[in-house]
């Protein structure tokens, strides 16, 4: 794992003005993946977009962790349905 691709949780706490416990809770709920390396904790930079989304929903829209879990689950389903819808639409071209 390239250390340059990892962002320390301490850094995230400062930049996003959040408590360490917020990130721990997200991790415990399976909403973001926290990587432990040499006694330090990180989030992969590819996951920052997802973290920012959770942060917005939690802080801006006042959605609690249980709500975030439910939303995450439904969004995953929605994306799968959108993907399947696109595949079906592309397939429909065969019959037009």
């Amino acid at each position: 794992m390239n250390l340059n691709d990892l962002i320390a949780i301490d850094e995230l706490c400062i930049r996003y003005k959040v408590e360490h416990t917020f990130i721990s809770s997200l991790s415990e709920s399976g909403l973001i993946e926290v990587i432990s390396l040499e006694q330090k904790e990180y989030v992969h930079c590819d996951k920052i977009t997802e973290f920012e989304k959770m942060h917005r929903l939690y802080h801006d829209l006042n959605i609690n962790l249980e709500g975030l879990e439910a939303i995450q689950h439904l969004l995953k389903k929605l994306k799968e349905l959108q993907k399947s819808n696109l595949q079906l639409r592309n397939r429909l071209n065969l019959y037009e």
């Binding site: 962002i7 995230l12 930049r15 996003y16 003005k17 930079c45 590819d46 920052i48 977009t49 920012e52 989304k53 942060h55 917005r56 929903l57 802080h59 801006d60 829209l61 006042n62 959605i63 939303i71 969004l75 929605l78 994306k79 959108q82 696109l86 639409r89 592309n90 397939r91 071209n93 065969l94």
Partner: protein, 303 residues
Amino acid sequence: MEFIDYYKILELDKSASQADIKKAYRKLARKYHPDLNPNDKSAQARFQQINEANEVLSDPKNRKKYDKHGKDWEHAEQFEHAQRQQQQQSGRGFGGGRQQSYSGNFDDDTFSDFFEQMFGGGARSRGTGRSPQYKGQDFNAELQLNLSDVYTSKKHTLTVNRKNIRITIPAGVENGQTIKIKGHGGPGIQGGPNGDLLITFNIVNDTKFKREKENLYTTVDVDFYTAILGGEITVDTFTGKVKLKVKPETQPGTQIKLKGKGFPKYKKEGQFGDLYITYQIKMPTNLTPREKELFEELQKLRS
């Protein structure tokens, strides 16, 4: 330019209190926030309207000005514009008291011309109550290509925010597929990672073939006699012509598969799908009396 009814957007009447505005805004933001409506352009457009309405109505100065001029805002515009210029020159700007605004990884700064004309850029109160950003903004782009363009991997130069980016689009990319070009979005903030560039492909079929993933489909005419007696035909594939043997007594709608003559498999170099050919038997028309006679003879042999 049309007047925008911000009260209507927030589903409020003019007597709404600041608390009512905040409540209405939150309620609608929960419904239309782009984070909760992925790939939904209409929800994003609605959210931008809601954001703009909140920008005006949650700020007492902006709201007062909006209420004062109402539908006659255009008549007052000239006077206000001069006033605003004066204020900006003296460095004070306009507005600044936004209660709360939701941010996101999308273009939530797109305000209407009406807003820009009435309040000017200085009225935007970025920063107050916004979620802090660290990672740069992701850019979304749509790229239209012909089906024949994506048969092979090709280099394309895209202009994103006045910067040229040269990328290779892998062969076999599908209609509606989105690829991520890491780090080519907006710059990171305070050492944060750059955003990404997300390109969604709109593939237009400029060929006679139909495509489903890596397989291609086409229909070929076969004359009646070749279908009955068998023979050889020449058909077009995506890359050229091939000769095919037609079995005797081939039925209409028979489908044959040409292995490996389909479309390239996405990110699987050297691997191709198949080409499915459906035979359409062309029946003879304008029969001569002699031909008719012979067909009748054939019919008798069968009955």
